[in-house]
């Protein structure tokens, strides 16, 4: 009886030590769920969800403060991915802004006065230029977030939609045409 008790106590102490050690040794910095949600978000950093960037939105979702259907650039597909990741029901899009075609910022270089306001607004440093020098957009880095539009004092930035090119052309989902037979 006593032996059994001692064995159990020893076992409990040993397992407790192992658990305590692993808690310290394998401690994860930060919330891994935030990272996972952030990986699904499109990283446009546009703030259309109401949060100042993708990471803050991911944090808000992880905390349960934000809904999963607020990201217009992520589109319907993004909501599905978030629903799968978090194990919640899919919700149709619920924000104010609606998803739109992918676009890239374009600066009309004739009109640009070189005020650097758009450079300061760009969340991914995709605009190059200097004070009183013409600015231009690095199209390959632009996420199409439209954050450069409001600060421009001369409205010289437009957002043309990206046209389908040969290099990124996609095969379409097969369409089966139905024929009337009677």
């Amino acid at each position: 009886m006593i032996t059994a008790l001692w064995v159990m106590i020893a076992l409990a102490a040993l397992l407790g030590l192992v658990l305590g050690f692993s808690a310290v040794r394998f401690k994860i910095e930060g919330n891994p769920l935030v990272e996972k949600i952030d990986a699904v978000l499109p990283q446009t950093q546009c703030g259309q969800c109401g949060y100042p960037g993708c990471k803050p939105y991911a944090e808000a979702i992880a905390k349960g403060e934000a809904d999963i259907n607020l990201c217009p650039p992520g589109g319907d597909d993004g909501i599905h991915k978030l629903a799968d990741l978090l194990g919640v029901e899919y919700k149709p899009f619920g924000g104010d802004a609606k998803p739109k075609a992918k676009a890239v910022a374009f600066i009309d270089e004739q009109t640009c006065i070189g005020c650097t306001l758009c450079i300061q607004a760009c969340p991914v440093d995709a605009i190059v230029g200097a004070a009183k020098q013409m600015h231009t957009v690095i199209a390959s880095e632009c996420t199409g977030c439209e954050l450069c539009l409001p600060p421009c004092p001369v409205d010289c930035i437009s957002m043309p939609a990206i046209e389908e090119r040969l290099t990124d052309w996609k095969w379409k989902h097969p369409v089966i045409t139905l024929r009337k037979i009677a």
Partner: protein, 552 residues
């Protein structure tokens, strides 16, 4: 006799090859204009290196490689560059691409052609030569040939692909029949470049004339190359499957043939390599089969950039032709227009009509008969892949190795429900490709955004540090002040000194009329002073008396 191996599945469609093998290869006449696309190879489009209005000679380079995975483009004949602009090309999207339009002068004047002794070339020089001469794989993938020689790899077996498994196509067959010795010369060069041990020339056994011609050429050159007749089974001409049949080795998923010590070239590529080195001629023409619903099906040697419509006119399309298929009936795509130019990858154009290729009956639901799985040469599960592609479940499709699908079309061929399976796989593949590109872009954007935030934070910190440093400096100055008074301190001292001086002056000053006074006057002053003192005393007393009244 070699022991041959089998690959899983495959089908035996009617070959229809004899249609276009009755007549020898004809040289297509020089067209009125040539439209030469700058993207004729796998990878990046070439960069134009001529200007509109320039006169170019036949074989002159007009496009240079713009990246590692790219190749050169040459003028197919002498003439004037009329434009460098977007033009419709042979692509299922019907989207235009950058093309150089050349108006031939009719003289067909060559640039200076120089033969190069390949034995004297180093491996790097050989690669550069092939790159400069625009040599790409002519089997269909148009992969730049120089890159296939690039890696310092050990190749045990060099395989020449003359299988040509798809129905209707006969361009390689006719090429082997008519130009076997040139092909063999190209193989000699390739073997030297790769330092390959064994050379196998695989030809499907439905081309006995080609096999005989290649045998003859090999023995005439006194070489030990093995010309192997492989069983006719579609898709036996796919590089991976030909390697399996000839060597029994399987190229692992996601790997290259060179990883298992094998390299594979198309026979037409061998010929173009021979021409590039022995004759100094770049790749400016190719053999193309015009067949199907035409009066005179035949193979033509045509210049790159010739419009398909010119070639079809030579063969005379029948009345009921309603579309044209580029490539074979299994893997080919319908041309968006018939006037698009011939490119390095164009091996065949089939005139199609509803009698020749009746439209597929409407697709019915999948009944899970798994006939597609039985014939799939890549040993995939097409019925599952179809299910995943249809429901946009791309992650699952990737798990089921969709990337290993070679889009050969045997699954759709045997499907009793007539489901266009390959279309679903192509759709899923391009969606997956786009998503992975988007993912890469998102990761890059995240990195840039995080770096920007880090930079802003760092700048803030640097500013705060500078400010703190300045404050610390001014405090230190205040402590040291006594020994080295600051500007403010000296001013204060001066003011104090001035006040002191003024006080001293005031103390020294005496009323001028008090000197030399009479004793009466002095007595009067004294009495006045005494009265004043008395009044002051009274006043202070009264003030002191007032105090209690105020408080009471």
């Amino acid at each position: 006799m070699r022991t041959l191996h089998h690959f899983h599945g495959g089908i035996h469609p009617t070959s229809h090859k004899s249609l276009s093998t009755h007549q020898s290869i004809a040289r297509a006449p020089l067209p009125k204009s040539l439209v030469i696309p700058l993207r004729q190879h796998a990878g990046e489009a070439a960069k134009p290196c001529v200007n509109v209005g320039d006169h170019v000679l036949k074989g002159q380079r007009i496009g240079t490689p713009s990246a590692t995975l790219s190749s050169s483009i040459h003028a197919p004949t002498s003439g004037t560059i009329a434009s460098i602009a977007l033009h419709q090309i042979a692509h299922p999207s019907a989207l235009p691409d950058l093309c150089i339009t050349l108006i031939p002068d009719g003289k067909d004047t060559w640039i200076k052609r120089e033969a190069v002794d390949f034995l004297a070339l180093s491996a790097n020089e050989m690669q550069q030569h092939l790159r400069d001469f625009g040599i790409v794989g002519l089997g269909g993938a148009t992969f730049p040939s120089d890159l296939k020689l690039r890696h310092p790899i050990k190749v045990d077996t060099l395989i020449l692909n003359g299988a040509e498994c798809e129905p209707y196509i006969t361009c390689d067959d006719m090429l082997m029949r008519e130009r076997a010795s040139e092909i063999v010369r190209g193989i000699v060069i390739l073997r030297h470049a790769l330092e390959a041990g064994e050379v196998l020339i695989g030809i499907e056994d439905n081309k006995p004339e080609a096999i005989a011609a290649m045998h003859e050429a090999v023995s005439a050159a006194q070489l030990d190359y093995a010309v192997v007749a492989v069983p006719t089974i579609y898709p036996g001409g796919s590089a991976k499957h030909l390697i399996k049949v000839l060597t029994g080795l399987e190229v692992p998923s996601g790997k290259l043939p060179t990883d298992i010590g094998v390299q594979c070239f198309n026979v037409a590529t061998a010929l173009s390599i021979k021409r590039a080195l022995d004759d100094g001629e770049p790749l400016i023409s190719r053999i193309v089969t015009i067949t199907g619903n035409v009066e005179h099906p035949r193979n033509y040697e045509a210049l790159i950039g010739t419009a398909f419509s010119d070639l079809i006119d030579l063969s005379v399309a029948k009345r009921d032709t309603n579309r044209y298929i580029m490539g074979g009936p299994m893997m080919g795509v319908v041309l968006p227009a018939v006037n698009v130019p011939l490119v390095k990858s164009s091996n065949c154009v089939i005139a199609a009509s509803d009698t020749l290729f009746p439209p597929a009956p409407p697709a019915l639901p999948c009944i899970r008969c798994t006939r597609c799985a039985q014939v799939c040469p890549a040993e995939l599960q097409p019925q599952d892949l179809y299910w995943f592609a249809k429901s946009n479940n791309f992650g699952k499709a990737q798990e089921y190795s969709l990337a290993d699908c070679i889009e050969c079309g045997v699954c759709a061929y045997v499907c009793p429900s007539h489901i266009p399976l390959v279309q679903y796989y192509r759709y899923a593949k391009s969606e997956i490709r786009e998503r992975s590109a988007e993912k890469l872009a998102a990761d890059k954007a995240r990195e840039r955004h995080e770096y920007r935030q880090f930079r802003i934070e760092r700048e803030k910190q640097e500013k705060a540090e500078k400010l703190a440093q300045r404050e610390a400096a001014s405090k230190a100055a205040a402590v040291v002040a006594p020994s080295t008074p600051s500007v403010d301190d000296t001013q204060q001292i001066r003011i104090n000194e001035a006040i002191e001086r003024a006080k001293a002056q005031a103390a020294e000053a005496h009323p001028k009329n008090t000197d030399a006074l009479t004793p009466e006057q002095q007595a009067e002053i004294a009495s006045i002073e005494a009265r004043r003192a008395k009044i002051r005393e009274l006043a202070t007393d009264a003030g002191a008396d007032d105090e209690p009244h105020k408080t009471s």
